[in-house]
């Protein structure tokens, strides 16, 4: 008789944890399904051409084109999103790798005690704060620099967004790079030292090389964050839905258009559906990024073995 309650407790435990898993799985599936359903409706129900959506350069949902369809070319914000993502990664990467090298190879004690907590603090700052600082400092600075060079610009645009995003993704890339370098076995370093290589030669040719797959993962995770960031970007990008022709003119990204547009339109309208398509595009891009990370992980795993 004493067995029974124990057995029941086991069952309850299994039931509760199982329900948690089921709930999470359901959440993911319904979320993806809903975004996909509404996003695809643009093309399936409203009859907008997918090619025109992906390659069109004019965004004017309230004006019909020659075919009587709303003009919803998403290329301006697609290219805007990619531009800010790549540029911000370009800004952040050298600094992140540089500080990771310093922390792991040169001053490990300082790194663990001072630098890493500092970096973690940066992760915790809300994005609206970054946006605010970007708006008051970066945008103004860009404008002033241009004025000094004899150009008149607003300061809003891809360049300012990339700087703000670079600061935002810096902690992510840095702390993952630190982990990546620290995971390189010490034997590799000693092997290089034993051949008469200097510290710099060792770091550059052996440590970074061995850590390359993990570093790639760090970069892509940073890019994922940059690609999906909405609020801070929207505050500094200028929100002009036009093909970006310069880094210093107002532009827009997928996320900024979404945050600006959502809530202004009723569910079921074509404009609303198109916004869902943008969301679907974002979701798919994130999935691609995550897929790449998994592929790299597998490749690195087999190579190491």
């Amino acid at each position: 008789m004493a067995q029974l309650p124990k057995h029941r407790v086991e069952l309850i435990g299994k039931g509760v944890t199982g329900a948690c898993i089921a709930l999470v799985a359901l959440l993911v599936v319904t979320l993806v399904a809903m975004v996909a359903q509404r996003g695809i409706a643009t093309f399936a129900v409203d009859g907008i051409d997918l090619g025109a959506f992906l390659t069109g350069t004019t965004w004017n949902p309230h004006q019909d084109d020659v075919n009587g369809m709303p003009t919803v070319g998403a290329l301006p914000m697609i290219s805007g999103s990619f531009a800010v993502t790549l540029l911000s990664t370009l800004f952040a990467l050298p600094i992140a790798i540089g500080s990771a090298i310093f922390v792991v190879e040169i001053a490990p004690r300082f790194g663990r005690r001072v630098f890493q907590p500092l970096i973690e603090l940066l992760v915790g700052i809300p994005s609206v704060v970054y946006g605010l600082i970007g708006l008051t400092v970066v945008v103004a600075w860009t404008r002033d620099m241009a004025a000094a060079a004899g150009q008149t610009i607003t300061g809003f645009g891809i360049f300012s967004s990339a700087i703000v995003l670079a600061v935002m993704i810096l902690p992510t890339i840095t702390s993952l790079s630190i982990d990546a370098l620290a995971a390189v076995p010490n034997q590799y370093r000693e092997g290089s030292y034993a051949l008469g290589c200097t510290r710099w030669q060792t770091v550059w040719n052996v440590v970074l090389r061995s850590a390359a797959p993990s570093l790639m993962t760090a970069v892509i995770l940073g890019m994922t964050r940059a690609f999906g960031e909405a609020l801070a970007v929207q505050m500094v990008v200028g929100n002009a839905i036009q093909m970006p022709t310069s880094l210093f003119t107002p532009a827009s990204t997928l996320t900024s258009v979404l945050t600006m547009g959502m809530g202004n339109e009723a569910m079921g309208t074509v404009y609303n559906d198109v916004l869902w398509s943008l969301a679907l595009l974002l979701l798919l891009m994130s999935l691609v990024f995550i897929l790449i990370i998994h592929l790299i992980g597998h490749k690195g795993g087999t190579k190491r073995g």
């Binding site: 034997q187 370093r189 092997g191 051949l195 290589c197 090389r209 061995s210």
Partner: protein, 282 residues
């Protein structure tokens, strides 16, 4: 024993070494290649190695034996100043190499390690092709130029490491695809590509299977015959008898006894060495 210097070993601008080498040969080899005098090692406050004096000759294999933690690896790592890479590790005493004390602050360790190579317990090929593993250090140090010179060096080093026949058709494949024994021989070949005159082996076979162990031991004998001074740390006593000419026994931070390998194993003088050889500890 080979008295002729290997020509390529002279590359790389070691003017003082060359001078003292000429001096040494003038005295008909009276000067040992490498000699330690009262070398001590302390980690922070712990003295891991007490005053140790040993001499190593060209073309000779010396085995350093003893139970775990006896200081034999620590001693080995003094010889190419590898202990400098460990924070709070201090090495005292003098280490004469070609008649010149290298345990000084002014010694250029990077130059030194070109001629005193080291092979570790775990094979550590870099994440590169077999060819690039061999050429890694020579290229960094600017010792080879042009494709022909590179190819020649790769073949020479791999032959010296007894690996050429197994890998000659896949030089551009990843070194990580090789077996453990092949990786270790690649590391030996990589070291030999620098034309060192001393090679330090830190338990080179403890991660290998018996067949690989045999081929690595044979490689060590062969490179000693070319005049290289080989020093091997091992806790495998059979290995010491198979591979070495001289043996030094370490125990709890002391170099207890040294002599020709035969004598050490057949007529040990010190009680601790006798106990170790009969398996009473260690």
């Amino acid at each position: 024993m080979m008295t002729q210097e290997k020509p390529l070993a002279e590359k790389g601008n070691r003017a003082p070494a060359v001078a003292s080498r000429a001096e040494a040969s003038a005295r008909e080899g009276a000067e040992p290649l490498l000699r330690t005098c009262d070398v001590t090692v302390t980690y922070d406050t712990f003295e891991a190695l007490h005053k140790t004096s040993l001499t190593f000759e060209k073309g000779q294999v010396t085995a350093l034996i003893g139970p775990s933690g006896c200081g034999k690896s620590t001693f080995l790592r003094c010889l190419n100043l590898m202990n400098r890479e460990i924070p709070k590790c201090k090495v005292g005493g003098s280490i004469d190499y070609h008649g010149r004390d290298i345990n000084t602050r002014s010694e250029n360790l990077f130059e030194l390690r070109k001629s005193i190579g080291m092979v570790f317990q775990q094979p550590t090929p870099f994440r590169k092709s077999i060819r690039d593993n061999i050429l890694f250090a020579p290229k960094r140090h600017g010792l080879v130029k042009g494709k022909d010179e590179c190819d020649a060096l790769v073949e020479e080093a791999l032959r010296a490491g007894a690996l050429w026949d197994e890998v000659k058709d896949k030089l551009d494949q990843s070194a990580h695809a090789l077996s453990g024994g092949q990786q270790q021989r690649l590391c030996i070949a990589r070291t030999l590509a620098m034309h060192p005159d001393v090679v330090l082996f830190d338990e080179p076979c403890s991660a290998l299977d018996p067949i690989s162990t045999f081929s690595v031991e044979e490689t060590i004998r062969e490179i000693a015959q070319t005049g290289i001074c080989a020093i091997i740390v091992t806790h495998n006593m059979e290995q010491a008898t198979r591979v070495s000419d001289r043996t030094a026994f370490f125990y709890v931070g002391d170099m207890v006894e040294t002599g020709p390998t035969k004598q050490i194993f057949s007529a040990p003088k010190d009680q601790r060495l006798q106990d170790y050889l009969t398996g009473r500890f260690g």
